[in-house]
Symmetry: none
Subunit: 237 residues, 2 copies
DNA sequence: ATTCAAAATTTGTCTAGACGTCTATACCTA
DNA sequence: TAGGTATAGACGTCTAGACAAATTTTGAAT
């Protein structure tokens, strides 16, 4: 490799790798060459390669995992947490195609936790929805939602059709609802969640617990969502 | 210095410097010790010190200038550019004490540029105000303002008293005015401006040219403002 | 085939030294 | 005194090597 004067070598390497990525030589999620491979390719010291990679990590273009390698960072979606936040709106606003697929559903008796959040008696029948949210076919989050069964009988079919809880709620006369609380934590995904998110079991997920209420303040949904931390970033405003 | 195991040395150095800064050992604007001084103080290699400093630069806590040294970064003020933006409101909203001091004033004949922006004939008498805006005693900007002299005769004294153009305009019956245009560029400050801003001559300033109009749309002020780029960040919404 | 431990890979940290670039200062010269 | 120049100080880049830490692969034993 020949270096042009005036610009430091590590910056030229950074530039080259960046153009390789935007040219699709390395695609999002792909493994980058190892440091030693880059050392041989560019004919420089390992530290010089590392300086270039550090810049790419800094600008969030790649992600490095010790002992594994460097990977092209998937485009991270900023997910604002507001009281009127709607998944499809956010994704559409980023010019990406949203999709929310139902994986399984079940009617069961509310555990004490679910009952507490939905403000119903323990044992009350609730609908459990397990779904995965995607943008452009890339899974972003898996969610478990609980809804009071008495009020929303038959909502599952509507949800499958419309692929949207917001739409399904409308069919039940709820034109407006809002997020009451959101609790955020970081955990490791279950095997099932990792599989659905198509991410490694040892990569963390951002886990949120949320309660949605209708305009009268009555809880209509309690949900636990696991976001892929490589693809989603929550924004609190 | 003794290092605790489990945490890399550069991170411990970063932590120590960070606590020194928050403890006021180094204040905003102060020069940090040189790399070699830190090398002696911590008893490590220069590269290790540099790794720690790089982290501080990355998190915007310090700013490094080649050949001069590292400086504790001043808190950057977000300055929204809106049609009703008022300097004192912004600063007060950040719980800081605003001050606007008149440096010099003069009545002169309008140059073609000034005349054009104020929508008057070249040669018309205009008031030139040269002032510096501060927050908590730290200079943020220097401004040169031009006002039509005929309309605002005696405004200088009011401005000196109230330290506010908004207030002074009110005395002339202008309760409401708005920003018509703002042009933004980056330049190097004049010697005088650098001195008033208490910043190095080679640090850039954000320069804005603006026209304020009264509610009837008549220009009342044409101003050129130089913001310290180390202390102010303009926000366009 | 499964499991467990050792070895190889790969990235992270630290040290050491050389030279380049930029800045400020002291000094010399006109 | 003003202006240019030399020099020292300070940060920027690059190379070289060693070891640590995390992960993956390999291979042996069951």
């Amino acid at each position: 490799m020949d270096w042009e004067p005036g610009l430091s070598i590590w910056k030229q390497i950074e530039k080259k790798l960046l153009s390789d990525i935007s040219d699709g030589v390395f695609s999002p999620g792909d493994k980058m060459p190892t440091e030693m491979e880059l050392v041989r390719r560019f004919g420089v010291n390992r530290h010089t390669v590392r300086r270039a990679m550090a810049a790419l990590v800094d600008s969030n273009v790649v992600r490095v995992e010790q002992g594994r390698g460097a990977f092209v960072q998937e485009q991270i979606l900023d997910y604002p947490l507001g009281s009127k936040t709607r998944f499809s709106q956010i994704v559409t606003g980023r010019h990406r195609l949203p999709d929310k697929r139902l994986i399984s559903s079940e009617v069961l008796k509310a555990s004490s936790t679910v009952a507490q959040f939905l403000d119903v008696k323990p044992g009350t029948r609730v609908i459990e929805l397990y779904s995965v949210s995607e943008a452009d076919g890339v899974p972003l989050a898996v969610a478990t939602s609980y809804l009071p069964a008495a009020r929303f009988d038959g909502i599952v079919e509507i949800f499958i059709q419309t692929k949207s809880l917001t739409e399904a709620f409308k069919r039940f006369g709820i034109d407006d609802y809002s997020r009451k609380t959101t609790r955020i934590s970081a955990t490791l995904p279950s095997t099932r969640a990792a599989s659905l998110l198509k991410q490694a079991k040892n990569r963390p997920v951002i886990s949120t617990e949320s309660i949605d209420v209708d305009s009268a303040g009555v809880p209509i949904e309690y949900g636990v969502t696991a976001f892929s931390s490589d693809r989603v970033q929550l924004i609190v405003e």
